[in-house]
């Protein structure tokens, strides 16, 4: 019985991939009078279905580790099915149904973690429902304009109507992707969610917001340009969106550097990465959209990989803070390589495909002549190196700082398989950066009516501003890596190695057990002293939202005082209301 159920679970997790292979044609039926649901697979949705097809089974596999949490497995099923529905939707109602199923099932999955506290779970569900209800409001407004729920370009609308629609839907999707200042729910929920589920949250669910943003563009005949004209070489309406994205990336990057917890760091890094994607969508050109899609793909691969690696570390050590870990490179080598490949992809360094994605976005910014944005983005993406470094150094290098870290063993095989697959994919795309472009991205661009950017071969990434050959680049890096590693191994015997972290002394002080000697301890603390960065780090929106919640409670208490438990007051109010409305009516009627 249990085996059959687990098999079914795996089949469901594979279903996005199966759908991609088997889906043909379309399906439609009436939900209620006047509401017709239709399912079809557009190339754009197909791209995001690919992301889901990668993330869903790879996250599902480690979830099958014993002891099984049947509730989580059961909730994962509607989650995946809901996301499939969302992507297959040919009309906004099925889109919304999928969106909501995704929202509540992911919330219930979040509750499976014993670490989830009330504030986190409430902020997760309330922000996501606010997003959903804004979406529904936008859908209803769209319906009142077009008379139909089918997703398609609008015609004959005024600027005001388009603006309302763009704001309603845009806000909904921006909450989902977690841009500033609507990101407050992201870090704590990614942090407190069950460890494996964080991978899915960051890798797949946040991409649905990206899908929505791109879908929003397709509603307007000339995408963003039609909204408010052009600014420099790009759409003026997108300029605002691009700045939202860049500010998000900059702030989130510095926040990420200051984190002392692996999952929180990854959460902020997710916000930053999605910020880049948002910027690219704001640019809206064919290059930029290609960059956005490419980065979405790489981010999914990288974040699923990193979160699963981290989940393995947490599983084996029970620790999630940098200062409690260290030196795991010898005990968990596969996880080490997972994180290494992951951060190279995350930082957008060559030779892995993260570079290709960022390159496309940078080039598109140059193309639009939005150079200030470009500068800010380069600032963020350079600063990202610091947190990437922290991520590899903290857990894997230096000294082991807790008994658990000293005795840890490699993560179970079921955790390693997805990591190896993802590493292989990342390396493959490093060799062939043109492969995703030609196979996955160009069809989307064609469907959106844009120029394709695919080069002559899979190995090449080409733009009008130049490109590169992945095979050559990769080989150079591999040779360099082999050389450096070889020299390191040759010279290793002569290096001095400290026997214990306390085998040293500095400035006449003798460190004690309580002295945080790990390099990762307090790393990033000094950032607070940099003028602008310190200001960013000290600010937060949490106070605002807590204040809002407090105001709601005050309103509840105020209105609750109407509900006094005294019958005579109820009757008095009824009689007074009766007399007052009678008087008002007779005055109005009499005059």
């Amino acid at each position: 019985m249990s085996a059959i159920l687990r098999l079914l679970f795996l089949i469901v997790s594979l279903s996005p991939g199966l759908l991609l292979l088997a889906w043909d044609g379309s399906l439609s039926w009436t939900l209620i009078d006047g509401v017709r649901l239709s399912l079809t697979l557009t190339p754009l949705a197909g791209f995001f279905m690919v992301l889901l097809a990668v993330a869903a089974p790879l996250v599902a596999l480690p979830m099958l580790r014993r002891p099984l949490d049947w509730s989580s497995l059961a909730l994962y099923v509607p989650l995946v099915l809901g996301m499939e529905l969302l992507l297959l939707a040919g009309d906004f109602i099925s889109f919304f149904i999928g969106w909501e199923i995704m929202t509540w099932s992911s919330y219930l999955l979040l509750l499976r973690s014993p670490r989830a506290d009330l504030e986190t779970s409430q902020s997760y569900i309330l922000f996501n429902l606010a997003s959903a209800f804004l979406l529904l409001a936008g859908i209803l407004f769209y319906y009142s304009l077009s008379g139909d729920f089918r997703i398609g370009p609008l015609a004959g609308t005024t600027f005001g109507q388009e603006l309302i629609l763009a704001v309603l839907l845009g806000l909904a999707f921006l909450i989902k992707v977690g841009t500033l200042p609507l990101h407050i729910w992201v870090p704590s929920s990614y942090d407190q969610a069950p460890d494996l589920f964080s991978a899915f949250l960051s890798g797949a669910i946040s991409k649905m917001g990206v899908y929505g943003l791109i879908l929003l563009l397709t509603l307007f005949p000339d995408a963003l340009t039609s909204l408010a004209g052009r600014l420099l070489e790009g759409p003026a309406a997108g300029y605002l969106l691009a700045w939202i994205g860049v500010v998000t990336s900059v702030v989130a990057t510095y926040k990420a550097i200051a984190q002392e917890d692996m999952k929180r760091l990854l959460a902020y890094s997710s916000i930053a990465q999605v910020g880049y994607i948002t910027t690219a969508i704001g640019v809206g050109s064919s290059l930029a959209l290609a960059g956005a899609l490419y980065l979405a793909l790489v981010h999914t691969l990288v974040k699923v990989l990193l979160f699963i690696s981290v989940a393995g570390i947490v599983l084996q050590t029970g620790q999630r803070r940098f200062k409690d870990l260290g030196k795991l490179i010898e005990r968990m080598p596969v996880s080490f390589f997972g994180v290494l490949i992951g951060i190279i992809g995350l930082a957008g360094m060559p030779p892995l495909p993260g570079f290709a994605a960022k390159y496309l976005i940078f080039v598109s910014l140059v193309d639009a002549r939005w150079l200030l944005l470009l500068a800010a983005m380069i600032l963020a993406s350079t600063a990202a190196f610091i947190y990437c470094y922290k991520l590899i150094y903290g857990p894997f290098l230096g000294h082991a700082n807790s008994p658990q870290a000293r005795e840890a063993r490699e993560a179970p095989l079921i955790y390693l398989v997805p990591q190896v697959i993802l590493m292989a994919l990342l390396v493959l795309f490093g060799f062939l950066p043109g492969l995703p472009v030609q196979v996955l991205i160009d069809p989307v661009l064609v469907a959106l009516g844009m120029e394709t950017i695919g080069g002559a071969s899979w190995a090449e990434l080409t733009t009008t501003y130049g490109g590169y050959d992945g095979v050559v680049l990769m080989l150079v890096f591999i040779i360099a890596f082999v050389l450096v590693t070889g020299i390191f191994l040759l010279l290793r015997g002569r290096m001095h190695r400290a026997g214990s972290p306390y085998d040293l002394s500095y400035a006449g002080e003798v460190p004690t057990e309580g002295t945080p000697l790990h390099y990762g301890a307090g790393m990033g603390r000094e950032l607070h002293r940099i003028p602008l960065v310190g200001w960013i780090l000290r600010r937060g929106t949490r106070g605002f939202y807590l204040g809002l919640a407090g105001q709601m409670r005050a309103a509840a208490a105020l209105l609750g005082s109407l509900y006094v438990g005294r019958p005579q007051i109820w009757i008095l109010i009824a009689v007074v209301v009766f007399a007052a409305s009678l008087a008002a009516q007779s005055m109005l009627g009499g005059l």
Partner: protein, 127 residues
């Protein structure tokens, strides 16, 4: 001397005035009295005033009971029988409600020793 009362307008005016006074006495009792039984009596007074209004306004002076007998062969100059039937029904219902209310009040008094409307405070908003 009381012949002016035979004018339907005057009579109906007195009925309206009287029943309204009665209604407001009942309302006063309902709103201002603390003892449960007095409050219930207030409700009963309000109901009573509505019955009186109904009967009073539905009948005019000079109308006879709507019974065909002893030479009365047509329905002229008879009071409308419907209001009286309705009022009887309403009285029965009102009595049932009142009886239930009084019995609940008595049980409440037996259980808690209180008979004050203001002492009904077990169910209320949380602090």
């Amino acid at each position: 001397m009381l012949a002016f009362l035979n004018d339907p307008g005057v009579l109906h005016g007195i009925v309206v005035l009287g029943t309204l006074i009665l209604f407001f006495i009942g309302l006063y009792g309902l709103l201002a009295k603390r003892h449960l039984l007095k409050v219930l009596i207030g409700i009963a007074l309000m109901e009573l005033s509505v019955y009186l209004l109904f009967i009073g306004l539905a009948t005019s002076p000079g109308e006879t009971a709507p019974i065909l007998s002893d030479g009365l062969r047509s329905f002229t100059h008879m009071a409308d029988p419907v209001p009286q039937a309705l009022t009887l029904t309403a009285i029965v219902i009102g009595l049932a409600v009142l009886a239930l209310g009084v019995s609940l009040a008595i049980q409440y008094h037996r259980l808690t020793g209180r008979a004050d409307v203001a002492s009904l405070t077990e169910l209320k908003e949380p602090r």
